[in-house]
């Protein structure tokens, strides 16, 4: 169990966060400069908060009120630094065994050999960090932190030092390692996919505050606010006006029409009519209506609208289309209203390169309301 409650003031920046997590992997997610790394440093005892309390597995690391502040040496925390901070003058074996100095020699050798073996570093024991690849360095840093059998593992942007092709492989490998060692861990990242892949619970940071803390699936489908949706990098984060809200449905006035959305099943949200409301539409859930299948059926095609393509981008296997609705008035997102994502195959079948005007529909379950 990890419980963090800290305040740290700097000129022009205040970190004031509070979150808890059970024994699992927690992802601290948010833009750079939001205070994620600072939180790790406070957890590790490298920076002393001005106020608050940090408890890990019933051990109080820090408690301003009780004047408790365990030095980093006594916290037994495995810290994987951004860029890894491997000791350049020590071999892989010496790096991994660095935190085991107080143990008897036989145990030290056994433990470092075990970690080296489990992380697939066998054969590299006598290499120096400069002789290793990026992925190997990451594993050495991980091994060095895991060797001390940490109460908590901290990983600061563990994949950012790697080349893109390697990142995905190592992300999944890292996930397996974290599960395998059954260590509670806190992973800092500014990449949502990375946070989602690695963490069970995600804590969203913005300028020194926590704006949502939720299990990853909940975060994915129910961001708590417009700010969270924007930090997650979601497309089609839009603003409309409430027409009518019931526990099941919310009707939203947007671009001269009324959209129907499903209200959140877990947090029924009942804003009064005419109040502003934010919502988002996942671009892959917008359906283009085929013209060769007759007129659209309002029963099957909810939230029907029509628009013209004003831009498109080819991402290889998928195409991102930008559509401007036929409705009068200024477009919602600069020069377009909606971003729509279609697989490459669909793009070819529908001959979208020749046909630029489309009717589209959005299922009410694909319009997600963002509470204010």
């Amino acid at each position: 169990m990890v419980s963090v409650e800290i305040v740290k003031r700097y000129p022009g920046f205040t970190l004031d966060v509070s979150w808890r997590a059970e024994k699992s992997v927690v992802g601290l997610f948010g833009p750079s400069g939001a205070g994620k790394t600072l939180t790790l440093q406070c957890l590790a005892g490298l920076i002393r908060p001005d106020a608050g309390r940090i408890v890990v597995d019933d051990r109080v690391f820090f408690d301003a009120a009780a004047s408790i502040d365990l030095p980093p040496q006594q916290r037994r925390i495995g810290y994987v630094f951004q860029g890894y901070a491997l000791f350049p003058h020590l071999t892989v074996e010496e790096n991994v065994a660095f935190g085991l100095r107080d143990r008897p020699r036989a145990e030290r050798l056994r433990r470092s050999a075990e970690v080296i073996e489990r992380l697939g570093l066998g054969g590299l024991e006598l290499r120096y960090p400069r002789e290793l690849s990026g992925g190997q360095r990451q594993r050495v840093a991980l091994g060095r932190a895991l060797a001390i059998d940490p109460a908590l593992l901290l990983l600061d942007e563990p994949l950012s030092a790697l080349d893109v092709p390697l990142r995905r492989t190592l992300r999944d490998e890292l996930r397996e390692t974290l599960r395998g060692f059954e260590t509670a861990a806190v992973v800092v990242t500014h990449d949502f996919t990375e946070a989602y892949r690695l963490a069970d619970r995600i804590v969203v940071y913005e300028s020194g505050r926590v704006i949502q803390s939720a299990p990853r699936a909940e975060l994915l489908w129910q961001p708590a606010s417009e700010a969270v949706a924007r930090i997650m990098g979601l497309a089609n984060v839009l603003r409309g006006t409430v027409v009518k809200a019931t526990p099941e449905r919310i009707q939203i006035g947007w671009r001269g029409q009324t959209l129907e959305a499903v209200n959140s099943p877990t947090r029924s949200y009942l804003p009064p009519p005419d109040s502003p409301i934010a919502f988002f539409i996942r671009p892959e859930y917008v359906r283009l209506i085929r013209k060769d299948r007759g007129a659209p059926d309002p029963q099957h095609h909810m939230n029907l609208m029509s628009g013209r393509l004003v831009g498109e981008a080819d991402f290889g296997t998928v195409w991102t289309l930008r559509l401007r609705l036929d409705a009068p008035g200024a477009p919602a997102q600069g020069d377009f209203d909606l971003e729509v994502e279609v697989p490459h195959l669909v793009y070819e079948i529908l001959e979208i390169d020749r046909d630029r005007h489309w009717q589209l529909s959005i299922h009410r379950g694909s319009i997600h309301v963002l509470p204010a």
Partner: protein, 217 residues
């Protein structure tokens, strides 16, 4: 030829180098790692011996350790005469050379990534252990370079030594003073021999240093 000045100078320079390392390395670490009130004053004081005329430094030292100075009198009370002994020559060499140890070691420590020290702390190492197993191994070349420069400077120390230790043949006459004496006495042969010895020692040391600097860690 009288070998006494050679041995005395080597002994004085070695002792002074050991003492400057002992006092200079912690000072360098302090300057490289900590922000504290008076840090700028300390930094300025460290450089002072490099820029002040040696005779001025010697004069002030003599004021302090001479028979009428505060330290001199305290020492005299316990029966120790410090000024004009080889110990005073060591002090002179220390004052003249400690800045070289401090500045060089400080520059070395500043290049050591603090994150490495933090990593060592999270891995359970005490501050003492962090220094010996991370900071020093990564900065030893700068510390050694500072020590070699300090040794060479101590070997050649003239002005301060003359003021506080005098130029007593067979007692405090170091190599540079002896060379000066021989030249004054027009004994050019001996002056030449002594000068060559000084050059040889320094050249060998600096050559060795440049070889060592090529090693990794």
């Amino acid at each position: 030829m009288d070998w006494f000045p050679v041995w005395l100078s080597l002994r004085v320079a070695l002792t002074a180098t050991a003492l400057t390392l002992l006092a200079g390395v912690p000072t360098a670490l302090l300057l490289a790692r900590k922000r504290f009130p008076g840090r700028n004053v300390l930094e300025a004081m460290v450089v002072l011996p490099l820029v002040l005329p040696p005779t001025v430094l010697g004069y002030y030292l003599l004021v302090v350790i001479g028979s009428r100075g505060p330290v001199g009198r305290a020492l005299a009370a316990i029966g120790v005469e410090f000024a004009f002994t080889w110990g005073a020559a060591v002090l002179a060499a220390c004052v003249g050379s400690i800045a070289l140890v401090i500045k060089s070691a400080q520059a070395g420590f500043e290049t050591v990534d603090r994150q490495l020290e933090q990593a060592a702390r999270t891995l359970g190492r005490s501050e003492w252990s962090v220094f010996w197993s991370v900071t020093l191994p990564l900065a030893w070349r700068s510390v050694l370079a500072g020590a070699v420069l300090a040794f060479c400077r101590a070997l050649g120390e003239f002005g301060i030594t003359l003021m506080v230790a005098g130029n007593i043949p067979g007692r405090t006459q170091t190599l540079p003073l002896a060379i000066y004496d021989r030249v004054q006495a027009a004994q050019m042969g001996e002056a030449n021999a002594l000068a060559l010895i000084a050059v040889a020692v320094v050249v060998v040391l600096l050559f060795g240093l440049s070889r060592l600097a090529r090693l990794r860690y």
